[in-house]
């Protein structure tokens, strides 16, 4: 049972981070479908940092890994920002391209490193068994992960930034009615850039958290299994509001966690379902939930529409 709770919180934290990333981007008016690719790149940045930080004190490992994941996510999301904001590219195409680019680039980079170390090693796996332990603190049988705290802090910060600061309110104005925002002197391009870059940072953090959640090594060819899109479903279910996103993430996290730990429950095993059913669960649930809730969705009005100064 405690294992189920632990995994639920772990995956919920990942979803909270990434969904909040999507939330910032969409509130600024840019649909970020590239979160999946951003997660992969963030995970890559973090994993490589851990790989080379052998024998450092845990604090250093944790801080540097988090920083590296955030920075790679940020840099990668800039590709989306420049195409969609400055060149007015189709946000769906660029987002999809980013997903494929993230996956391909991460695989190529990891394989290049592995081959350079040992020509016989053609896998796309990065190991970080010892370094991962730096993230964990055992509190009475419960493996507390520092990333959980990071997710909680960011959740609170996101709520405050969006609703209680000038920046957040201006950001949301750009997603609702950019022309009006522009008319009162807000730089829409700057706001949208910040929205996308914040989503890059949060997506990167979500990525590194996802790969240290269950494993001590990661095969980058596999990517993050649609988690970026699950996070978008969480965001829609959460109606683009941080506190609701947190609740939605807990629900989805629970179903994802079941896929990892179902074999530990006798009554689930006695149902004799194939493991695939549990793997499908998060996606089926998200489809049902979206079908039931999307009708009255409160999406930012101007999301997906490139802003052109001077256009009415």
């Amino acid at each position: 049972m405690s294992l189920l709770i632990q995994y639920t919180i772990l995956y919920a934290s990942v979803l909270i981070l990434v969904a909040l990333g999507g939330c910032f981007s969409e509130h600024s008016g840019v649909i970020n479908l590239g979160l999946e690719g951003i997660m992969v790149m963030g995970a890559l940045g973090g994993a490589l940092t851990m790989k080379y930080l052998i024998g450092y004190p845990p604090v250093v490992i944790v801080i540097l890994t988090i920083l590296a994941a955030a920075v790679t996510g940020l840099v990668f999301s800039a590709l989306l920002a420049v195409a969609c904001i400055n060149f007015k590219a189709d946000q769906t195409i660029v987002g999809t391209a980013l997903n494929m680019l993230g996956l391909a680039a991460a695989t190529v980079i990891v394989k290049a490193i592995n081959i350079a170390e040992n020509p016989d090693n053609v896998s796309s796996t990065v190991q970080y068994i010892a370094q991962k332990k730096a993230f964990l603190v055992n509190i009475g049988g419960f493996d507390f992960n520092w990333m959980m705290l990071v997710a909680l802090v960011i959740l609170i910060a996101a709520y405050i930034v969006l609703y209680k600061t000038k920046f957040g309110l201006r950001l949301m104005a750009c997603g609702e009615h950019p022309q009006a925002a522009d008319s009162v002197g807000i730089n829409v391009y700057k706001m949208r850039w910040s929205g996308v870059l914040i989503s890059g940072v949060l997506g990167g953090l979500g990525g590194i958290m996802y790969i240290i959640a269950g494993a001590s090594e990661w095969q980058f060819e596999a990517g993050v299994a649609g988690f970026g899109f699950l996070a978008l479903a969480v965001m829609i279910f959460g109606q683009w509001k941080p506190h609701r996103i947190a609740l939605a993430a807990l629900l989805f996290g629970l179903f994802r966690a079941l896929a990892s730990v179902y074999s530990g429950f006798d009554f689930l095993l006695s149902l004799q379902l194939s493991g695939s059913i549990y793997k499908m669960m998060p996606y089926i649930i998200s489809l049902i939930v979206l079908a039931l809730t999307s009708k009255r969705s409160r999406a930012p009005k101007a999301e997906g529409i490139p802003y052109e100064k001077g256009q009415r």
């Binding site: 479908l33 590709l79 195409a83 969609c84 060149f87 007015k88 590219a89 189709d90 769906t92 195409i93 660029v94 999809t96 391209a97 980013l98 494929m100 680019l101 996956l103 391909a104 680039a105 695989t107 190529v108 394989k111 290049a112 081959i115 350079a116 020509p119 053609v122 796309s124 060819e221 596999a222 990517g223 299994a225 649609g226 899109f229 978008l232 479903a233 829609i236 194939s274 695939s276 793997k279 499908m280 996606y283 089926i284 998200s286 489809l287 979206l290 079908a291 039931l292 999307s294 009708k295 969705s297």
Partner: protein, 380 residues
Amino acid sequence: MNKEKRSLLKNDGVQSFIASIICILLGLLLGYVVLLFINPAGAGEAITSLVKNFFNYPNTTIALKYFGSTLVKTAPLLMCSLSILFAYKVGLFNIGAAGQYAFGAGIAIYAALAWQLPWWVCLLLAMAAGAVLGTISGILKSYCNVNEVISGIMLNWITLYAMNDLLTNVKESASPYTMHIESVSPQSIMPTLGLDTLFSNNQYVTISIPISIIIAIIVYIVMEKTKFGYELKATGFNKNAAKYCGMAEKRNTILTLLIGGGLAGLGAGLFYLTGFEQWSCGQSAVPAMGFNGIAAAFLGGLNPIGSIFSSYFIQHITVGGAYLDKSMYCTQISDLISSIIIYLCGFVLFMKFVMNNIAAKREEKAKAAAKAAEQEGGNE
């Protein structure tokens, strides 16, 4: 003569062509730079062997055989790209093509191995399977307001796991792969009609290739020359205006994704019923065909005929990736190049804008020159 040149640059088809060429060249260039970073020693050789693909074989008979294999893999890619561009013209982004393809593949293989049905029945079942999945996305989109991209991705993963489970029933006992269709059920393999002899007896070269090209032409005719295609495109341009004009916009959305799904499913049938490849039941990712279809669709300028060539090109470099020196590089370099190309396709609108500007400037200059010449003539 100058006048012709101007109108040429303003022509939409020419603009799309130039933009695609720019995307390809930039994509290859960036791929080369990546190769240089990984290992500068073999980069030049690597990029040429990637572009050469089957030309790497000096023997024409063998080269012809591998050319056939590239074509076999082009047919499903073309179908996926048709699926995506068809939906895109109606304003829908059918990223679920990957799942529809996987569903079609699973059903085609299962029908062939478990029921040993003739090839054309398997093919139709594959098409129906893809269409069902597309219809689900369509209904969710038009009645529940669920973004088709998100429902598509969810369905992709659900389908992958479901197909892995389904096909485990017909897999070989010693490997994760499904049984060979030609040995279990020869009537489920598509006929070659003598096409194989054209490609050094490559048994996998079947009627799948001409079928896919004919379907590309049909899609072109439906989109450009029929009332049905016009209605669909009108729905894509402006849903509310289409509704106002009495077009059933909800029905059109569902119908579009149904057809898109059918195309992707059929593509899977066209590939797996050649027996070229078996399904691996331990697959942890949806087959990349559907996603590469996005690249092919946009690279082809969203034109079914253009797609024929762009699909071939994408498949050419994907297969060409296998010829890289494995002690230095990995085959995923070609995935990287095609994803860079898709990213660059996002800039096509901007490139067209620049081309239009150049054309307009030239026109202005020519006009000014003509005017000046006229005035001079008047002065004399």
